[in-house]
């Protein structure tokens, strides 16, 4: 028998505390792996915390409405049949050990992104998880940054080394993007991977980052062990040009918040804090010019100016494509006719890895394990 602590998770670098919004379970409930336990709100977004293993909920220690620091024990899960005194002792010890730990340790604040030189500037990246032979590389989409993987990277990192990058011109990376083409972006990611001495890896890319990942996989044969594409660019002609333009143009929070709502099947997931954070990234010197350059090089009149379908079909590696059924940016039909497996998720928009984080994490973990 073992008792397990369910704690306030740390989703993203900025998260220091979370608010308990809704408990799906009560003490005594039997849960299976992946069952929804509790909704937790961060300033940016609300997400559901799921059970990491099967068992019985023995204690609920955080009340709805309460705001608690990351790492705080909020429930106790029992995969055996522990006696009541054992559960009480476990709770006591869990709280004591939390207090004994350095605050930075419990909140994971020590995790910091770093810079890697790629010749034409530097790329910002975040490494998480113990070093392994094959690392998992995460590449975000247009206008995003490595924090887009905040619900995925900590989970995937349990299995090994993960590295998320800020694309050139995005996040903490240098704002120069050269000609802004997919080839250029992929080249810089390849240089970064080489500098970091990563020779074999799994690539996971979202949207524009999916196209970059595909290009990296095609250009460095033998280095990529598997490819996961989430609502990827480069697989068809159509793209929502109005969204791209509106995203670049938006200068006000409310305006940007409206624009961002088209990324999700459930628009209520977009908070004003999420919009403010993106606005702040867009205000940095050179950020808007970089976005404009990438836009001009790759998209025009709601069309993608490049296609990678041929190159992807010829890749001799396991490929998985994930798409939100209600994607308003790139239609889910672009996943048709690709090799490997295709997962189209219901009630999901363009940001499947955020909107259906747990499902996507499970899919990626399985895909990678089988590769």
């Amino acid at each position: 028998m073992t008792l397990h602590a369910v704690t306030v998770p740390k989703w993203g670098l900025a998260m220091e505390e979370g608010q308990i919004v809704h408990w799906y379970v009560a003490p005594g409930a039997r849960v299976s792996t992946g069952d929804a336990l509790v909704d937790i709100e961060t300033p940016k977004i609300t997400n559901t915390l799921e059970a990491e293993g099967p068992g019985t909920i023995r204690r609920i220690l955080g009340a709805e409405g309460e705001t608690l620091p990351c790492g705080q024990v909020i429930a106790v899960l029992d995969d055996g049949e522990s006696g009541e005194p054992d559960v009480d002792d476990f709770v006591k010890n869990a709280i004591l050990s939390l207090e004994a730990k350095h605050p930075e340790e419990t909140t994971g604040k020590t995790l910091r992104p770093a810079l890697v030189d790629v010749g034409s500037g530097s790329l910002n990246y975040l490494a998480m998880g113990a070093p392994t032979d094959l690392s998992i590389i995460l590449i975000h989409g247009f206008g995003g940054d490595l924090n887009n993987w905040m619900f995925n990277q900590p989970v995937l990192a349990a299995a090994g080394r993960t590295i998320s990058f800020d694309l050139p011109g995005h996040g903490g990376s240098t704002k120069t993007v050269g000609n802004g083409s997919i080839d250029e972006l992929a080249l810089r990611i390849s240089v970064a991977l080489k500098s970091l001495q990563l020779e074999r890896f799994h690539l996971v890319g979202h949207s524009l980052g999916g196209a970059v990942a595909s290009k990296v996989a095609a250009s460095v044969p033998g280095s990529c062990a598997s490819l996961t594409l989430i609502s990827s660019a480069g697989l068809g002609e159509e793209i929502n040009g109005d969204y791209l333009e509106a995203f670049v143009v938006a200068k006000r929070r409310r305006e940007l918040q409206k624009v961002l709502e088209s990324l999700f099947a459930d628009p209520s997931l977009v908070t004003s804090d999420m919009a403010e954070e993106i606005l702040r990234a867009k205000r940095l010197d050179g950020a808007e010019a970089a976005l404009r350059q990438v836009l001009a090089a790759n998209f025009a009149d709601s069309r993608q100016l490049f296609g990678l379908r041929e190159q992807i079909i010829h890749l001799d590696i396991p490929i998985m494509t994930i798409w939100g059924e209600s994607d308003l940016i790139i239609p889910a039909t672009h996943s048709n006719g690709l090799p490997g497996s295709t997962q189209v998720l219901a009630e999901t928009g363009h940001m499947a890895h955020i909107e259906k984080a747990a499902e996507v994490n499970t899919l990626i973990a399985k895909h990678i394990a089988a590769a």
Binding site: R252, R254, S272, R283, L284
Partner: protein, 335 residues
């Protein structure tokens, strides 16, 4: 992201722009820090330490310590701006503006207009405003309404470290005279401020709290008092929106009208005397262009029409307090 104080954010904005553009110079009393007196250079960095470190990095050709002659060095800065430099000049207390009226209102503010658009005056006048430090009637005024009244001046009133840095970089890059007003009670507040340079456009308000029942428009240090009231009332399920216009000229009329179109109620919190004030101006905006949205009279929470008192008790009563803001919000709601 590193936490930085309002003071540090302003210092960083100036230093980064001085590195980027060699025409940016700093002018003012004690900006080098005690030079000319008996003190060590840079020991002090201005009366509140805002320009500390600049003399060491940029030297005395670009960090110019002046005698106590506001009328002289403000005029000098206006002339320098017309002839190719981008001066960031510090007027230690905004109260001293009286002796520089002509240089600012008749000269700097008018050059572009009177020379048919051919003259540029990229001048930033930084100045410290506000009460709360027991500094009496000649060192505690805000006076932002006076600058806002003058066409040709842009007027900026940051309430947070993040805004201070982005707005000051915008001000330095702007080709018109900008009055940049720093509230003296805000220098030590801290928040996340990016290391890199960024700009916040003028004329764009921000909502520091979002709500549906009442709109509070608050300026500079008053934003924090309004936020505290919003947070308190949120516990009673009263949902208060706080709008910080950030700049009074240009002024984001759209943000105020949009907000009251949802809330129907408006309270304006302005640390200033009430006559011919921003509070009156914003109330007029709501009356003229937002009247159909309003479900309650517009209320102003301001200082009384008197000089700032020296007595601590009287000064506390003089400033718009959280209690007075809360009373106004409740009055709007009829509760």
């Amino acid at each position: 992201m590193p936490k930085k104080s309002y003071r540090k954010a302003i210092n960083e904005a100036i230093a980064q722009e001085m590195r980027r553009d060699t025409t940016v110079v700093v002018i003012g009393e004690d900006v080098a820090g005690g030079q000319g007196g008996t003190g060590e250079i840079d020991a002090y960095g201005g009366v509140l330490g805002v320009t500390k470190g600049l003399i060491g990095e940029f030297g005395e050709d670009r960090v110019i310590d002046t005698p106590i002659t506001e009328s002289g060095f403000i005029g000098m800065a206006a002339g320098a701006a017309c002839t190719g430099l981008r001066p960031v000049v510090e007027l230690m207390f905004v109260d001293f503006i009286g002796v520089c009226f002509d240089q600012i209102f008749n000269q700097a503010a008018k050059f572009r207009y009177m020379f048919g658009g051919k003259a540029r005056t990229p001048l930033v006048i930084r100045s410290m405003i506000g009460g709360g430090l027991r500094a009496a009637a000649q060192h505690s005024q805000t006076l932002h309404s006076i600058f806002t009244h003058v066409p040709g001046l842009k007027v900026v009133m940051p309430s947070s470290p993040y805004d201070a840095k982005g707005l000051l970089i915008q001000a330095i890059r702007d080709d018109d005279p900008v009055i940049f007003l720093e509230h003296k009670t805000l220098y030590d507040i801290e928040e996340d401020v990016p290391d890199g340079s960024y700009t916040i456009p003028f004329g764009e308000a921000t909502a520091t709290r979002e709500g549906d029942d009442v709109t509070i428009v608050a300026l500079s240090a008053m934003v924090h008092r309004a936020n505290a009231v919003a947070d308190k009332l949120a516990k009673e399920n009263i949902s208060v929106e706080v709008i910080d216009p950030r700049t009074t000229s240009p002024f984001d009329e759209h943000a105020v009208l949009e907000s009251i179109s949802r809330t129907g109620r408006l309270v304006i919190v302005d640390e200033d005397t009430p006559r011919c004030s921003m509070a009156s101006d914003i109330a007029a905006l709501a009356a003229e262009r937002g009247f159909s949205s309003l479900t309650a009279p517009v209320l102003r929470v301001t200082c009384p029409h008197t000089p700032v008192p020296f007595s601590p008790t009287l000064e506390d009563a003089y400033m718009p307090s959280a209690a007075r803001i809360e009373t106004a919000v409740r009055q709007c709601l009829g509760s």
